[in-house]
């Protein structure tokens, strides 16, 4: 950096700012769908996140496995049952009726979550 001319220096600054903006924009792009939809449950580190989610009846929830190990999503009362989800596979289910739906992973039953569906 020592040998940079003033012009070059400002170009470096510009580049830096540009990167900051780009990163911020990317952040917005990446976070927006999750915030807007709010109907995703991710599987990370053998856990459902969020562990509990409240949605209105008729909402479709997407369960996505982001672990290096397959998982599945099984309604405790058999209301729904995904196949084994490999890394980055997802499973969608539309919760038509109000109620509380407890679920777990069919492979690792200590992984548990809950969907609360309001009318």
């Amino acid at each position: 950096m020592r040998n940079l001319t003033k012009a070059n220096r400002s170009r470096v600054w510009g580049l830096g700012l540009c990167l900051i903006f780009a990163t911020a924009a990317l952040g917005v792009i990446l976070t927006l769908p999750a915030v807007a939809a709010g109907h995703e449950v991710n599987i990370d580190n053998f856990a459902f996140t969020p562990k509990e989610l409240t949605v209105k009846a008729g909402t479709t929830i997407v369960f996505r496995n982001r672990d290096d190990i397959p998982h599945s999503v099984v309604g405790t009362k058999g209301e729904f049952h995904s196949k084994a989800l490999d890394t980055d596979d997802s499973f969608s289910f539309t919760f038509a009726k109000a109620g509380t739906y407890a679920y777990s992973c069919g492979l690792h039953p200590q992984m548990q979550g809950k969907i609360i569906v309001t009318p």
Binding site: N45, F46, A47, D67, D68, I69, P70, S72, V74, T76, K83, A84, D86, T87, A102, Y103, S104, G106, L107, H108, P109, Q110, Q112
Partner: protein, 317 residues
């Protein structure tokens, strides 16, 4: 993770009673339920030295996860092949192999085919029990049973005798209940009671199943919720050896006349209990991987009721 002095790179955190050794190693002998360890010069030497007194030996392989290709081991089929090459290089041929489950990663036909092809190269009879990864086909384990379910009951449990030892293969990965751990279920427990009925207490028993039959770490589901019922049925026997997989690392515990032992995986290591955010595959430096993968040799000495368990990694560290 700190290296132990044997250099296996496994941090036992003081809670584990393990064992090993490496190319030179420790052999655990079971005599009336009291294990004794002794240094060995290596598996070949050990076998030669023990040959005269040995009734027979068998091998345990576990958690081959054929189809796994994530960073923790991009070539799980390759390391399975290395394990089988080791089997073929043994100076004393084992009488058979047991596979304690997670043969495949995703229960796909091609993964079962690949596993069968590679394991078949050992030209040994193989007695399988399923892991949870082997019964995740669309029909909840039908694919597994079609291949390995011949002469088994229920979800794939069975028993057989060899050289005076009674072997029992149990299934504790089916019909798992939310919030629970591994499970045997009442039907299997009733079968086990029936199977053991009338057997002399002097019969050496070897029980094998995928998930450990003792509570290794319930927080990660590493245990079997109704294993106490099975162990109660085994209590009267003078020599019981329980061989498990699932946790992809060596562990041993002795309780009364029962020795519990878990085998290494041939695919990827998993963290010691509670040392990581989850029990997922543990990424280790490439040169270390094969020191954490391997297989287990079990020797039965006729008339002495003792089983000697030796673990061999793919590469001595």
């Amino acid at each position: 993770m700190s290296d132990n002095k044997q250099g296996t790179g496994i941090d036992r955190r003081g809670v584990l009673e393990c064992m090993i050794w490496a190319g030179t190693g420790v052999i655990w002998t079971l005599n009336g339920g009291v294990p004794k360890s002794s240094q060995l010069l290596g598996i070949g030497t050990a076998q030669a030295a023990e040959k005269a007194a040995t009734g027979f030996s068998f091998l345990q392989i576990s958690d081959s996860h054929v189809g796994f290709s994530k960073p923790a081991n991009p070539d799980a089929l390759g390391t399975l092949k290395e394990a089988i090459d080791k089997v073929n290089g043994l100076p004393v041929k084992p009488v058979f192999m047991i596979h304690t489950g997670d043969i495949t990663h995703l229960s796909k036909p091609v993964q079962f085919d690949d596993a069968e092809r590679i394991i078949g190269d050992a030209k040994l009879d193989v007695h399988y029990v399923p892991g949870e990864h082997d019964i995740i086909d669309e029909n909840n384990g039908q694919a597994y049973l079609e291949r390995y379910g011949k002469n088994t009951k229920g979800t794939g449990w069975f028993a057989f005798d060899h050289g005076g030892v009674h072997f029992i293969g149990l299934v504790n990965v089916a019909n798992l209940k939310a919030g629970g751990m591994g499970s045997l279920g009442d039907e299997q427990l009733a079968w086990l009671a029936q199977d053991l009925k009338g057997k002399p207490a002097s019969t050496p028993i070897v029980v094998f199943a995928h998930i450990p039959l003792w509570a290794v770490y319930p927080e990660w589901g590493w245990g079997t919720e109704d294993s106490a019922k099975a162990l109660a049925l085994l209590k009267r026997f003078g020599s019981v050896t329980v061989l498990n997989g699932h946790i992809h690392q060596l562990m041993q515990k002795v309780e009364g006349n029962v020795t519990f032992h878990t085998a290494m995986s041939t695919a990827f290591p998993q963290p010691a209990p509670g040392t990581a955010a989850s029990p997922g595959p543990m990424l280790v430096p490439a040169e270390k991987l094969r020191t954490l993968l391997g297989l287990t040799n079990v020797e039965v000495r006729r008339g002495k009721q003792r089983l000697a368990i030796t673990d061999t990694p793919l590469t001595a560290s």
